[in-house]
Amino acid sequence: MTSEQPNPEMLSALDRPNSYIGKTVPRPNLDRLMQGRGLYVSDVELPRMAHVVFVRSPHAHARIVGIDASPAKQMPGVIAVVSGSELAAVITPWIGVLSHLKGLKSAPQSAIAIDHVCWQGEAVAAVVANSRAQAEDAAELVSVEYQELDAVTDMRAALDPATAVIHASLGDNLAFERNHDAGAVDQAFAESDEVVDAEFIFGRHTGVTLEPRAVVADWNAAEARLTIYQGTQAPHMVQNIAALHLGLKESQVRVVCKDVGGSFGIKVHIYADEMATYALSRLLRRPVKFVADRVESFNTDIHARDHRCKGKIGVKRDGTITAFEIDDLTGIGPYSMYPRTSAIEANQVVNLVGGPYVTRNYRARARVVFQNKNVMCQYRAVGHPIACSVTEGLVDLAAMKIGMDPVEIRRRNLIADNAYPCASPSGLRFEQLSHHAALSKLVQMMDYEALRAEQSTLRARNIYRGIGVASFIEVTNPSAAFYGVGGAKISSQDGVAVRLDAQGSVICQTSITEQGQGSESLTAQIVGSVLGVSMDRVRVILGDTDNTPYGGGTWASRGAGIGGEAALQATKVLRKNILDVAAAILQSTAGELDIVNNAVVTVVDGAPRIELSELARIVYFRPDTLPPGMQPELMATRHFVPREYPFAFTNGVQASWLEVDIDTGFVKLLKHWVVEDCGTIINPQLVDEQIRGGVVQGLGAALFEKCVYDERGQLTNANMADYLVPMSGEMPDIDVGHVVSPTLESELGAKGAGEAGTAGAAAAVTNAINDALKPFGAVITEIPLTPQVILTALRRI
């Protein structure tokens, strides 16, 4: 589907001299980051800027009895100490629900807690001072009297009637429940030769963006405008929400997002402390800066996963999978996050389990419960690692039970590559996937047979290596079906404005954002390719609600597929406009002309006729020489969102090759392979690096990362020394291969690749460890796979 009539000349665009689509070219503007001359929010300084430090609850659940701020207010440099009720005068509370997630409930949440704190780390007061050090000094003198309440920590206990209800007005601790029943599940299990079940446990982990969340809010009382400098993935969403809760028009709020030091979904949300910072700026009529320190990041950046999922699979002797069933329980902390909600992940798990396979019989229940822990919400590959680990874990268990090779059972059950379009058991519609081509490529890349032989040889020498394979589907290019239909004002369309400046260079404003994925690069590549100009002539502007078209931003693997298509369509219009002017100037026709290497040329022989700089000079400075009635438009804007398919599903498969030390429980990752299909590839290197980065985040979840809470809801490893993330020394080299099935929903054909790595890595590693431990009859269905978990499974501790 395209918004413009196809221009026959454009069909050859990919073969033109300025074709950058499909080519590896370095990202523009990297020097800025490599020389330390970027502008992250933590670098932003404004005149009269004050710093805020939040006093945070040491208790997971308590009533605030009283706050004495008077000693703090006397401290040097202190401008104000503000409580939740004082701040409520300028900002309204919110409730994180979406109407299409039927039954989802949550309680009103305030920017700063009033009366009641629900997790350790919730802000109870703000101290604003001339420097952060002064604010921190004063914060220590704010005394808060609490009445501690019972903390709800275990998600299973949360639903027990004997357990305290966190928000009395909600009646219980169940935030959301979804049930799904397709096909004839009971009959399928009854007719199976084997039925295998297991409980899969996923630890809570978090994003650990290297730059902590940061915001500078600048309320200019004279202009009645709020400028928010924030490292966010969705500037227009921030604009909308800030305006809504501060009682402003959207036009009174500008969101500026320059360099962002890591995001991964952590920075696609709006946090209470960020809302408080906007409100403080309004209250105090001056710029206020908040930069989370690392302990605050661990306690307040959204956490992810935290699922216990019972899974069941039926299988015939010949390997046919007959049915899947899951019962998933997930803990989301005390509030459903605003505005995207914390029920999306469980919903995704229901959607995605069994997704790569043919079986129609699928029953699922997902329950989402409140707890007195930090809020859990969308993080890279929302729901995918859970669904993939459960599905692929069950498939391996089934294979083990019937004595079939893990690759073979997948070959027998993956949806055939010529079966599309079709739908999954949960009703997802697939346009075109390539599971079998991907699996074949993977098997060849890793030399599966040779690895199996090596594994067998080494096993005889008491070296325990394992191979794990995991197929997956990935949600990308989300339409309004994700949030818009639920009432959230989160744009699913993106827009691009592209213009030729007076010297023949191209300025491109896009609503997608850059957090290192390469949004600037892919946009410049598309614009340069379509227009016929060199990339160094294209300047991309993004991350500024005053200066970009309205759009969603960069999340859920949508930048290339949605923003890229908008860039393509806008540039096609600009190209047509330029050729129309050129035809007038050259007394030719647009059809006889083309643009190549920054100049208008004759199609038939490629002879240069007029440089774009000269054309621009005429249009801007000597329009009097153009034919009467001609008003050239050297600027064009187009927006795009997929309409026919709610999501562009992609697929892929990963494999892990690793060694388990059965004495220490340590795992050494030896090699990792990924084959994925993201449709049209705009920049192969950027795609591969997205995948590798995603894989390593998945490996972190698989092996190291876990937010450890005690029974009182205290996060006991809220620092980088105790919370482990993958380091260069432990990570393997990762080979990435591709199958290319472009989506027909756009002319560009690009689907997303941002979640693929994270989606399948943990499943591949878990399956590999179980494969390595096969001689011991040990099966593990829990991550992170710490030495303790492995040694326990081996009954060595």
Partner: protein, 161 residues
């Protein structure tokens, strides 16, 4: 509150005189007093490596060093190494290999990589991974960084890529 202390040091070749509180760490001194924002703060407890700078030729975590400890010292930051051209080839290799995504870890990563290449001109991949294992990168998965450092090492020693 303790009184300020006068310090005198060289930062990227320039003489700097300042009065600082004893508790001020070097990273905050560079960022807030000298406005050298290339030194990044990721954790403020010496784990992530984003604040790595060179003091008297050795790389240190500037969040774990106090500004007063640098009296009479020679401090070099990413801005200095960039302007002098000392790591131009390393930066070029990072650019070609897309060895950075968000770029927040990159100054510290480049400082650590240059330190390795000065100590050990022909490191193998495992040595590179080991030397960089004090620097977090949450975006790249490290492989591209290892590739870029390896490429630079080979080029500097005249070996074929």
């Amino acid at each position: 509150m303790t009184a300020t202390v006068a310090i005198s040091l060289s930062v990227n070749g320039e003489l700097v005189e300042a009065s600082v509180l004893p508790r001020l760490n070097l990273a905050d001194f560079l960022r807030e007093h000298l406005k050298l924002t290339g030194t990044h703060l990721g954790c403020e407890h010496g784990v992530c490596g984003a604040c790595t700078v060179r003091v008297n030729g050795d790389i240190v975590r500037s969040c774990l060093m106090l500004a007063v400890q640098t009296d009479n010292a020679k401090v070099e930051t990413i801005e200095g190494l960039s302007d002098s051209g000392e790591i131009a080839d390393l930066q070029s290799a990072f650019r070609e290999r897309n060895a950075l995504q968000c770029g927040f870890c990159t100054p510290g990563m480049l400082m650590a990589a240059q330190d390795l290449l000065q100590q050990s001109p022909t490191p193998d991949r495992e040595q590179i991974r080991e030397h960089l294992s004090g620097n977090y990168c949450r975006c790249t998965g490290y492989q591209a960084i290892v590739d870029a450092v390896e490429t630079t090492a080979r080029a500097r020693t005249g070996r074929l890529p």
